[in-house]
């Protein structure tokens, strides 16, 4: 049975590369009997918005992960309260993200074999 691993990104997508790194690490796990998922919380929540464009500052675009998210059908999650807190009005449909309530996080974290905050 595949091992379930969750990458939790909590740092801003502009000024840190962690969102791209989380997806890159997740994509690298396919074929290893590992089922990776990615959760964006706190400041990283703005990475879910189609309006977030680090490339305008010469940084890595988040959109570069979209085609791989589709190809591998990587599960992407956000947290409703954090999206509201950081003014994320709409979610980029390329992620097909599922939005959790903060109250669901306890059960959600415990449903994975490993959870890695990055």
């Amino acid at each position: 049975m595949d091992k379930k691993i969750l990458f939790v990104v909590y740092q801003s997508p502009v000024g840190s590369v962690w969102i791209n790194e989380a997806f890159r690490t997740a994509f690298g796990m396919y074929g290893e009997d590992i089922e990776p998922s990615v959760l964006l919380i706190e400041e990283a929540s703005v990475g879910l918005s189609p309006d977030t464009k680090p490339e305008t500052l010469g940084l890595l675009p988040i959109s570069m992960v979209h085609r791989f998210v589709k190809r591998y059908e990587t599960s992407v999650y956000g947290v409703k309260e954090h999206c509201e807190k950081y003014g994320v009005k709409n979610i980029d449909e390329n992620f097909s993200a599922k939005i959790l309530n903060e109250s669901e996080l306890n059960g959600f974290f415990h449903s994975f074999d490993n959870v890695i905050f990055m």
Partner: protein
């Protein structure tokens, strides 16, 4: 049941989220700057069996007697990690 590794201080948003989502049967180990969570009584409100890495605690100027959790050494730290399959770190 899971093992939570807390390594950042009290202003870190990730550690706040982790510590809000522990259960009574979880194990928490505070290492590095995570020891700062263990120096005030609010630590008692956090669910789970709590341990602090002694060397990280003492190196930050605290007395063993002032610890609010069990202090463990490195070999005990490794034993606890090996005992737990699920790790949230």
């Amino acid at each position: 049941m899971a093992l939570f590794l807390i390594k950042y201080g009290t202003d870190n948003s990730a550690e706040k989220i982790k510590l809000k989502n522990t259960n009574d049967d979880d194990v928490l180990i505070f290492i590095q700057n995570g020891v700062y969570w263990t120096i005030n009584s609010e630590i008692n409100n956090i669910k789970g069996k709590k341990f602090t890495l002694k060397s990280d605690f003492i190196s930050r100027g605290y007395q063993e007697s002032s610890s609010l959790t069990d202090l463990i050494d490195y070999s005990q730290f490794i034993d606890i990690i090996e005992e737990n399959e699920k790790i949230i770190g």
